[in-house]
Amino acid sequence: MHNVWLIARREYLERIRTRGFIVTTVLIPLIMAGFIFGSAFAGSKSKSDAHIAVVSSDMQLVLDLQAQLQQERPSRATQPAKRPHITVDAMNPGPDTRTILGQELDAGDLDGYLWIAPAPAATPDARPSFAFTPQSSAQDSLKSTLADALGTVLMRERLTHRGIVAADADTMLQPIDIETVHSPKHVDPDSAGVSITVLFFLMYFVIMLYGMNVARSIIEEKTSRIFEVMLATIRPEEMMAGKILGVGSVGLTQVGIWLVAVLLYGSSFAARVGAGNIHIGLRPAQIVYFFIYFLLGYLFYSSIAAALGAMTNSEQELQQLNMFLVLPLAFCFVVLHSVLTSPDGNLARVLALIPPFTPLLMYLRVSLGHPAAWEVALSMLLTSASIVAIIWVTSRIYRVGVLMYGKRPNLPEILRWLKYS
């Protein structure tokens, strides 16, 4: 045990002092923050301004629509970023209207124009037809905003036709707002979802990064031939355990630094960037589960990485084998969307119990869904059991592999290694 501690400590101290550690500690959050706030910022900006033209011979309809679109809804005023501000130009259809509008679209002065053709027959229920021509970069939501507004306007018009007083019609058409009231235990699911997704990415990156680090440092020790010196005093198992623990502690330190930084400065930083609606809403349990599943995931993948490192002689050879690490992790990415949308669906329930996917997917379920206690327990049990099995196999491969230089072993050779005592 003392030797494991010595190896782990050396590994930890040597790594934490490197420039690489400082660089990744600073860079990874910057990249992720840039990614998240960048997209939030872009989203809020493009929503805020829209300029459209409405072409119709029915001026009353256009004016009503204009009023509807520019109407402030008091309950939404707290979140101005979510409500696009739409400027509406009214136009009468003329012979060259389409050409003029087309030019304005090309010039970027307009985000789109709505062409309202009168209803073909004069029956009371007949509706005019609407055609919306958006600019290519216009917001997708513009069309649905227009459709909502038009629906309200037409409804009000029809209600007035049927003899309902305009004020009554307005009251009837008042949109219903459901206000979100946070209970102390359950934070706003939207922001929790964002935070959990960020943690998911973080877990993915850190497991991948440090798993590869384990493999790389084994290869480095193989090429520098330090192994023989070490093996003259300690067991290969101790070396492997020390290495995995040491490198893993570096990963934990890094994640810890990030979490502390986020908890201390995250909210104020988000507010300053202007995306005030993203706040870090995490329950303590979600953080605890993060560390549990991070550890399980790291142990699972770094043990595989240790075997890969012991089998190969150079980084290039490692690259050919690292699909064993990348593929299962990447698979979690592929199903991320389905698990996020229905964290308690059958797909999520089954996948989250399969050890290679458990750390990432069960973490999503625990944080966002409602897995049964037995599912959580079973997922941890299965993953721990497979970690033990992997370490058993890996330590055998390791024991023989670290002293093998030269050609990469093939599968039958590796199977034979398992039988060596």
Partner: protein
């Protein structure tokens, strides 16, 4: 009580017999040479002495006990493939390796400083290992082997790649350690070093022990049938009837005398003839050098071994894989 005792050790890798029925002992206070051509099983034998690999059959005893890992605290091992952490600071590295051998950090650091002074590399202490010259790295590795004051020192090719000054420095250090009663095993191809340093040797070839014993015993078991002559002038005297074979170098002849009961007289008559024809500056009669014994033994072994591996053609013309 022998420090190391190997008894009928056998180790087989997938397709190759690395060591077969190998037995020898190393006594305290001796310098032991493990000799053999490349791939003869030297490294495999050493690895079994320190438990990196386990023999398939036979026993390895250290300090009079069957091998246990606790004995490793008393063993220092310098592998043939030198290895240090390249990015690590020299002193951190030495302390770390010392700690792995059971020293406390402060003791390890104190001894490391002493050793660095002794081997004249104090200027390397604060540097990173990768910034040192190869010879310096080798000295650091040498120190790391000795830091925990082991009673058994195993060195695989310790002098390879060192300049003569440093090689002598390390040899003197090893001789000092022997004087303190340590048992030292080293493997090498350099026979002159073995003759100078070793008290006893084991010569292995293709995994088999071909020769072992104390240096003096081995040497005295061979007749003094070698003659070295340094001379100037006519070399006709080399056609003397008692000369069996000879090697000519510039101004020097190395002669092997024909086996006979009167070797000493044959040598005298050769000397007389030489003086009659040429100007002799040196004349020495001696037992074969270890190098000659080595080559002779290896060559004796080889044809037999080769014969076992070749294919024979049976009388009927059918190929039989032997």
């Amino acid at each position: 009580m022998p420090i190391v005792e190997l008894q009928h050790v056998r180790k087989v890798y997938d397709t190759k017999v690395a060591v077969e029925d190998l037995s020898f002992t190393i006594e305290p206070g001796t310098m032991f040479g493990l000799l053999g051509p490349n791939g003869s099983g030297k490294t495999s034998s050493i690895r079994m002495m320190i438990g990196i690999t386990v023999p398939d059959s036979g026993t390895v005893s250290l300090f009079g006990q069957p091998f246990t890992r606790t004995a490793l605290a008393r063993v220092g091992y310098l592998p043939e493939e030198r290895g240090l952490y390249k990015k690590m600071n020299v002193m951190d590295q030495l302390v770390f390796l010392g700690q792995l051998h059971g020293l406390s950090a402060s003791v390890a650091s104190k001894r490391a400083h002493l050793w660095c002074e002794k081997l004249a590399i104090t200027e390397a202490i604060s540097k990173k290992t990768e910034d040192l010259s190869k010879g310096m790295q080798q000295k650091i590795q040498f120190i790391s082997t000795l830091l925990h004051d082991p009673d058994l020192i195993l060195m695989d090719e310790p002098f390879s790649g060192l300049d003569p000054v440093n090689a002598v420095l390390l040899m003197d250090t090893l001789l000092d350690l022997r004087k303190q009663g340590k048992a030292i095993l080293f493997s090498t191809h350099r026979m002159d070093q073995v003759e100078k340093l070793c008290d006893s040797i084991a010569l292995i070839h293709r995994g088999h022990l071909v020769l072992s014993g104390s240096m003096r015993q081995i040497k005295s078991s061979y007749p003094r049938n070698r003659v070295v002559i340094h001379f100037e002038g006519d070399e006709g005297f080399l056609r003397h009837p008692s000369v069996e074979s000879l090697k000519r170098y510039n101004g020097t002849a190395e002669i092997k005398l024909r086996p006979s009961a009167t070797l000493a007289d044959d040598a005298q008559s050769l000397l007389a003839q030489a003086i009659a024809h040429a100007r002799v500056t040196r004349f020495e009669v001696m037992a074969p050098t270890l190098e000659e014994i080595f080559i002779e033994k290896v060559q004796q072994e080889s044809p037999a071994a080769n014969g076992r591996e070749t294919t024979r053609v049976a009388p009927a013309g059918v190929l039989i894989d032997a």
